[in-house]
């Protein structure tokens, strides 16, 4: 990883992406995206403010995004017997889960069972965080389809740090550098795609990037509304119009 990567990011010269600053920057964006507390030009007076996903290795308990994220499955190996739980492993008939069974278990269960001294389970790194893929990300992060590889590449990557892998610092570095490498494109495309089909632009983005993209689009649309003088145009609440549409559909059914 050479410093030439940094210079390819032609942002305002004063905006230096030092490691700590990027963390704060992305945290700022994430909290603004998720709470909907957009700058004054936000015309969409959204009152529904769902709990945002957590930042870094901390999940937010009530965040629906984090709950979905923690459903992702990880390859694991049991380091002790689980008596009476044989029915969990569908491929076996036994009453117990023996020691040394390889299973895919969801992140929430892996986090709950994992202990540093490894008496209960050991967690393997999913392929996308291993050496092989890390080299690919290092070469060019922009070509990777993070939706297929994820879709929670950044979220799950941050959570993987809970499992004390010896490769933790490499994983963290890789996730961070991948974000830096791809951010520019996400930001540019979200700020320049007005009133068009954006499905091609978002199909290779992971969930965090899609949220950022939506935030960018939201700001762009609000600005355009303001430019057209529609900033004070009163509109029906979207909650209402959709109920009416649904009612019509029910009648027609």
């Amino acid at each position: 990883m050479t410093s030439s990567r940094r210079s390819s990011l032609t942002m305002a010269p004063s905006f230096k992406l030092q490691r700590g600053q990027l963390r704060d920057f992305s945290r700022g964006i994430r909290s603004r995206v998720s709470t909907g507390a957009m700058p004054r030009s936000q015309m969409d007076t959204r009152s529904y403010m769902p709990v945002p996903p957590g930042v870094g290795t901390e999940e937010n308990v009530f965040s629906l995004d984090d709950i979905l994220l923690s459903q992702e499955r990880l390859p694991c190996r049991t380091e002790s017997v689980f008596p009476g739980l044989g029915f969990v492993d569908k491929s076996s008939d036994s009453r117990h889960i023996p020691e040394g069974t390889k299973m895919e278990i969801p992140l929430w269960l892996a986090k709950g069972l994992y202990e540093r001294k490894r008496r209960v389970i050991s967690v393997e790194l999913p392929r996308v965080y291993r050496e092989g893929w890390r080299t690919v990300f290092g070469a060019d992060a922009n070509v990777v389809d993070l939706h297929t590889m994820g879709p929670y590449y950044y979220g799950l990557g941050s959570q993987m740090l809970h499992f004390d892998s010896p490769e933790n610092s490499e994983i963290a570095q890789c996730v961070l550098q991948t974000f830096i490498g791809r951010f520019r494109r996400t930001m540019d495309s979200s700020q320049n795609a007005y009133n068009e089909d954006t499905s091609v632009l978002v199909e290779k983005l992971d969930c965090l990037e899609r949220a950022l993209f939506r935030a960018g689009q939201s700001g762009l649309n609000a600005f355009q509304l303001w430019e057209k003088g529609l900033a004070s145009h009163l509109t029906a609440s979207s909650l209402v119009t959709n109920y009416r549409k649904r009612k019509l559909a029910d009648l027609q059914a």
């Binding site: 959204r46 009152s47 209960v120 004070s232 009163l234 029906a236």
Partner: protein, 181 residues
Amino acid sequence: MSDGQLPAFNEDGIRQVLEEMKALYEQNQSDVNEAKTEGKSELIPSIKFRHCCLLRNQRCITAYLYDRLLRIRALRWEYGSVLPTTIRFHMCAEEVEWFNQYKKSLASYMRSLGGEEGLDITQDMKPPKSLYIEVRCLKDHGEFEIDDGTVILLKKNSQHFLPRWKCEQLIRQGVLEHVIS
């Protein structure tokens, strides 16, 4: 459902989750007793496993209920204090009660602002540009009285020039449409 809509309350789903939690809890209780009295420490991983499942179910249920409250709260701000029956059918009894309490809290807070009359902070969600606005009626809404006593008949497709503050809520509810010339 990321647009803030309130779907019907999933009574069945919640009941199933609570039943599963009860079963897990009872199995763990008996395992814990066995481990304590007979010293079977090999049961501990399974106890931990079931406990994780219990915590997960608890988290999912509370997040579900909390998210629904956030949506119901948004309804007060975006729609008004009287909800249409279609939406009310989607709420369980406790949620209706919560909405009523929230309305009361909001009302007493608004009364405490701005001197004697209070201040309706659910108005002027977008910065107003004029006192009066042109509106078109989208559906029959009957008679409507404005501050100076005049009564207006809100018939479908009729257009009127009315004070902004009287129309705001009807526009949000989809009865009137703000016409920009």
